[in-house]
Symmetry: C2
Subunit: 154 residues, 2 copies
């Protein structure tokens, strides 16, 4: 399974926007530096986020911002914006022999069970907001700095 890092990178972008807003020029190049990818990849993802109504941007102006508060953007919202609703976690083999009892009925059967599993995962993602991610990041950063100070003083 080759899986895209689109969701990861998109969450990264949104977190970056929020944390560095007003502190750095929010160019696609600066964001790309943190994600370690090319500016074009960032712009592609931001295009999807914009179409999904999660951010607002002005062409030529390096100042994108969240379209609504971080606490009102769930990871599932981001997933939908950049992966779309027709993206599936599990894949059904579509070419099985229709004349066989198994091959002719397994697709519909698995579609049902796979859907249940996907909905369960999506529901979990929907409970986590961008604000939760920001809080986690800041807590982890504070812990790192505390550990570093302790290390220096011993």
């Amino acid at each position: 399974m080759r899986v895209s890092t689109r969701l990861s990178d998109s969450i990264h972008i949104l977190a970056f926007l929020q944390i560095f807003h007003g502190k750095l020029p929010l160019t696609s190049e600066n964001i790309a530096g943190s994600v370690r990818t090319s500016p074009v990849v960032i712009r592609r993802l931001m295009s999807a986020l914009r179409k999904g109504g999660l951010i607002e941007t002005v062409p030529g102006s390096a100042d994108p911002r969240l379209a609504r508060p971080a606490s009102e953007i769930s990871l599932y919202d981001i997933y939908l914006a950049v992966e779309g609703s027709d993206r599936h976690l599990f894949t059904i083999d579509e070419k099985t022999a229709p004349e066989c009892i198994v091959g002719g009925n397994i697709q519909a059967t698995l579609a049902e069970y796979y859907h249940q599993a996907e909905v369960a995962a999506q529901a979990k993602l929907a409970t986590v907001t961008l604000q939760d991610v920001l809080d986690s990041i800041l807590v982890r950063q504070a812990q790192k700095e505390a550990a570093r100070r302790k290390d220096e003083n011993k």
Copy 2:
């Protein structure tokens, strides 16, 4: 995302074994006919299922069988056997800039949230057994045949 159809095809194989046991020679070629793939692909998947303790086979003999009742094999068992436990539904971008507050902390943060979503999906898969799949397949087949008869009689 190029996603593997390993889970789908493996469920297909196990269902095929159970339904056609004693009615057809269960050669990799016959199974491949129903899955519409090559016999080697089938043998590769069956190798994983055998190592995962789900089926028992005898080299040279076309008579593989389930290692335990279909009601005691969950879709998650099959998933584990053919995809492994280090396979993830969501992928984290591992190359983000460690010196950045976001890039340096987002991986651990997302790992936690992604894990929760994966566990939710896996738990759903664990509640479905191969027997459930077999029942669904047989019900769907019966419905198809009923619809066909009704169609012929009108």
